[in-house]
Amino acid sequence: MVYSFPEEVLEYVFAFLSSDKDRNAVSLVCKSWYEIERWCRRRVFIGNCYAVSPQIMIRRFPEVRAVKIKGKPHFADFNLVPERWGAYVYPWISAMARSYPWLEEIKLKRMVVTDESLELISKSFKNFKVLSLSSCEGFTTDGLSSIAANCRNLRELDLRESEVEDLSGHWLSHFPDNFTSLVSLNMSCLGSEVSFSALERLISRCPNLKTLRLNRAVPVEKLASLLRRAPQLVEFGTGACSTEIRTDIFSNLVEAFSGCKHLESLSGFWDVVPAYLPAMYCVCSRITKLNLSYATVQSPDLVELISQCSNLKCLWVLDYIEDAGLKALSSYCKDLQELRVFPSDPYSAEPNVSLTEQGLVTVSAGCPKLQSVLYFCRQMSNAALIAIARNRPNLLRFRLCIIEPQAPDYLTLEPLDTGFGAIVEHCKELRRLSLSGLLTDRVFEYIGTHAKKLEMLSLAFAGDSDLGLHHVLSGCESLRKLEIRDCPFGDRALLANAAKLETMRSLWMSSCSVSYGACKLLGQKMPNLNVEVIDERGPPDSRPESISVEKLYVYRTVAGPRADKPDFVWTMDEDGALRFS
């Protein structure tokens, strides 16, 4: 019988379980399995930093080596979450500094990280290896200096898309001369110039360097020298490539790239002069990921490059690629799995490029492995969406942004309900969906009926009434994250589906019609939810209860209301009374 296995054997078996879901399931089998598992869990993922406290995490999992924590809701990326809302990492770092001396990895997303936190990290964990700060803010390059100077075994430093106060490029020079363990460095979000000779020396002495993403300040004429010192690179991000083209720069670059036999991913290309792109042709056949989303290059030049990347799996590009370029993509890159097309001029009333729904339809037809789409465009039709759905039932992520809010089907002037309905009906494994365009409650009926695997849904300027929200909350069984802005959804659907919210990570609603009274009621009914009213107009009870709140953020938690709220956030309490920070 299973319970006669010695603990050591069970522990050995559990070590093969890497997925949190499996480990959680194992913990529920019986008390002894719970105990054994919790002592050998090495990786913890915390999807919402306010869902649990550092103390609870440490109490349950005493031997953790790697932590990943997410903070602000996704809409913070678009300035919808006011500054000072929260998501401070310091309390986590300080608790872990005391209890996890052997911590090796910290990965954070959308959190506020201070120089103090970085210094504490650098001094508290002797075997610290991986620091990844994705879309974080609150620190300066001084904090990076601490990391560089003190983390003797650092392998990864990844600052992707973080907002760093760039005091100087001097931080890089703090890596000691005997520091050789670097495997991955992503400094693409920084502005200042780092000492080039320090960078060269760092790269030369780190033989395991696989990922190097430079910032804009590194000019194209210096790239060859870096590449020659790191021919083993697998992922490379250039700096700005805007220097006027010269034959010597170009030929050095060609030579350097041809020495890189392992390159699979390229990025950077800010302001790239198109004449430089051919320097990369020699590595194109091995490239699987290409991020050209900062390259203001016209379609023909893009096509020249892409047509050589027969193994391309992931492409991020600006809409300069146009329908013609996407047609070429669909014929050359049959392994394509992910496509993101960003707008080059999102605020102009008129299209500046010839990119329409047709480009996406063509790619959906020509790329059988396409599973992940992010597409900004200015026109869409139900016919196109239906075609995409039929072509690609294997879609997992579909995010469409039609730039004009509430834009109808441009051919029929109807809402896009049937188009998106086709997407959820055909793409049965769909996990993530973002809607745009003119949409009625109908589309939500389709989503509630068909989107059974949907985990994240983003809505803007959509729907007619509470019925829309009700369809989603009552029908989408796998829903974890729902974010809504500017939709006419109100109290009834929310209160009728209150229990659903406990099965989800979070719900965001801004500029909707949820009254303060309903928020209070929700907070009363659901003690395991934090119902946060975010309102910069002052205390909600200074207005009638029927007035809609500006923003509402509801999330499940075992940590109770948070203690670090700013003055524009109120947590609706069990007593129905307000809690002030």
Binding site: F78, N79, C189, Y347, Q406, A460, P488
Partner: protein, 184 residues
């Protein structure tokens, strides 16, 4: 009946802007109701130049379209560079008395003499000699340009690069108006 009155009133209404342009900025609706993005009233000033400036951006809704700030900032900077580098800096050129306007790409020229020779060839006239004190001496024409502030300036006073970056359109003035400049 009331509708017709409405139409008549609109026709005689006093408001800023050219006849035929509609002022949408007066319409106020909650953002989630079905309505188009509003134009800010600042757009009215541009209505006269609508055909020559790039399309005016609509009044921006916060966080829409959903583009991250870093990308927004990079793109805005790049667009300025891209449009002028790759797409050229085409400006209209009008000549007093000519039946139609022309367009030239001022980025194609390296300095004032190149530009002036090109203008002379295009409109078949001769321009005279530039001096700081007297403007263009020796002809009844003077090349002028409208700058970013909307003021009409004499071509040649500022450094070439500054001129290229601030010139919105060119006008070759003729006759008595020119003499007026010379008298200043």
């Amino acid at each position: 009946m009331a509708y017709e009155n409405d139409m008549n009133l609109k026709a005689t209404e006093l408001r800023l802007g050219l006849p035929g342009t509609i002022d949408e900025s007066q319409i106020k609706e909650p953002s989630f109701l079905k309505s188009n993005n509003k134009r800010s009233s600042g757009d009215m000033d541009n209505s006269a130049n609508e055909d020559e400036c790039s399309p005016v951006p609509k009044a921006q809704v916060v966080g829409w379209p959903p583009v991250r700030s870093y990308r927004k900032n990079v793109l805005q900077q790049q667009k300025k560079n891209f449009d002028s580098d790759v797409l050229g800096m085409y400006v209209k050129v009008s000549m007093d008395g000519a039946p139609y306007l022309r367009k030239i790409d001022i980025k194609v020229y390296k300095n004032y003499p190149d530009l002036l020779v090109a203008l002379e060839n295009m409109f078949k006239f001769s321009i005279g000699v530039y001096s700081e004190r007297e403007g263009y001496n020796g002809s009844e024409y003077a090349p002028t340009y409208e700058d970013k502030d909307g003021d009409w300036m004499l071509v040649g006073d500022v450094p070439w690069d500054m001129f290229v970056n601030s010139c919105k359109r060119l006008r070759i003035m003729k006759g008595s108006e020119v003499k007026g400049l010379g008298c200043l």
